[in-house]
């Protein structure tokens, strides 16, 4: 296996990071990094940590060394090298970055998730408008992994808050069966592209063939995640098997619209990437003053529509709400 940390891996250009990863030869993890500077989106960091953990659990030999790049303290603070099992030869004593990121966290159970939500997310010292999307996305994305992925190393999550650009980036990665295999249990899917497109539609779950889900699974987590990125005009990616789905920001100056079918949103699919056994999800969110998470949820709820033939009726108007 090969892991290369490039100069830059944001969601805009993350394909370069995926292309240089290799799943071949599981007996060795060959590690390399850019000689001067490394910047990784949390999705890339989560995948790198996940790969390191998979290599370790397979008893793989780790080859390579950590270079003393300028961004090394950040990578050390995020906890990457503990999972890749390489010594960065750097002691971190300061805490100047505290409050701006959530380090790599491995979650293997519901109890781990509860602990992460209670103990880890508050590390960001964020007001509710920043903390709520993180709490929401961590919960929905990690539960997807725990319930559907069968990942031997669980889920890896981390986040970064960019104060200057008022942007929040979140990454979640697992080394499970992948979206295609998960959906194929109950749906007819012939390719990773088809599987990802299906998984992004509301009401499609890997737990049942029934549109709208069963008693435990609604099949809505990825639609909500995509909606949060789309309506705040940000990038969102899913990488599974050999396929990358990337939601683009869309044209400026026009109100973003959320569609139920991902093909109607600004996007592209890239296929033929190195095979990732599992799923990687990355998302950026704007958290500037005036961007309200509750407004985003309201817009997503409005867009939520299942592909069912039944005559539409406003059932929601019949709900009894009390103060």
């Amino acid at each position: 296996m090969k892991l290369y940390l490039p100069n830059s891996a944001n969601l805009q250009n993350v394909e370069g990071f995926f292309r240089r990863f290799s799943p071949e030869d599981p007996t060795t993890l060959s590690f390399q990094m850019h000689p001067r500077y490394v910047h990784l989106h949390p999705a890339a960091l989560a995948m790198a940590a996940c790969l390191g953990e998979v290599a370790h659990s397979n008893g793989a030999r780790v080859k390579g060394r950590v270079r003393r790049v300028r961004s090394l303290p950040y990578l050390v603070r995020m906890g990457l090298f503990g999972h890749v099992r390489l010594d960065p030869r750097l002691e971190i004593s300061g805490h100047e970055e505290a409050g701006r990121f959530i380090p790599l966290t491995q979650i293997r159970s519901n109890e781990d998730l509860r602990t992460a939500i209670v103990d880890v997310i508050p590390l960001l010292h964020a007001d509710p408008e920043i903390a709520n999307p993180i709490r929401y996305l961590f919960s929905e994305l990690v539960r997807n992994v725990l319930e559907h992925a069968r990942s031997p190393v669980g889920a890896f999550v981390c986040a970064q808050y960019y104060r200057n650009s008022e942007r929040l980036s979140i990454g979640v990665a697992d080394a499970g069966i992948g979206i295609r295999a998960s959906l194929a249990q109950h749906h007819r899917v012939t390719s990773a592209v088809e599987a990802i497109a299906l998984a992004l539609q509301p009401g499609i779950s890997g737990a049942t063939g029934r549109i709208g889900g069963n008693e435990s699974n609604a099949g809505a987590g990825l639609f909500f995640t995509k909606g949060i990125a789309r309506l705040s005009r940000n990038y969102f990616i899913i990488y599974s098997d050999d396929c990358l789905f990337k939601l683009l920001r869309g044209p400026e100056g026009r109100e973003p619209v959320l569609h139920t079918h991902p093909s109607d949103d600004p996007h592209w699919f890239t296929t033929g990437l190195p095979e990732w056994r599992g799923t990687v999800v990355g998302i950026d969110i704007s958290v500037a003053p005036g961007t309200s998470f509750s407004s985003l949820l309201t817009e997503i709820n409005k867009a939520y529509s299942l592909d069912v033939k039944k005559r539409k009726k406003a059932y929601y108007k019949m709900i009894q709400f009390a103060k």
Binding site: G212, A218, T298
Partner: protein, 98 residues
């Protein structure tokens, strides 16, 4: 019967296991007895669509739209209210599907 959601979760109601427990141990038996059920979200600042789904979707699908006369959602902020509306809407839309 009133169910205090925060007692089984926290101010962030996301634990689907807790939702399923409330559904199976409190909501379903009360509905079977013909009681009115109030789901009190007071003190819950955020929930997830998955939590609300696990809490009520199957009950609504099993009983049909008439169940909405027996269920009351109390103390919901804007986020919670929006998610409840979405889950109720699609649960009833898919009642006769598949």
């Amino acid at each position: 019967m009133t169910v205090l959601i925060k007692e089984s979760t926290s101010d962030f109601a996301e634990d689907k296991d807790a939702a399923a427990k409330i559904r199976d141990e409190q909501i379903r038996p009360a509905i079977r007895r013909g009681e009115e059920v109030t789901l009190d979200f007071t003190g819950v600042s955020l929930t997830t669509q998955s939590f609300v789904h696990a809490l009520v979707s199957d009950v609504i699908r099993n009983q049909g739209e008439g169940i909405l006369k027996q269920l009351t959602f109390k103390g919901c902020n804007r986020e919670v209210k929006g998610l409840v509306k979405t889950v109720v809407q699609y649960s009833l839309e898919t009642l006769d599907e598949n």
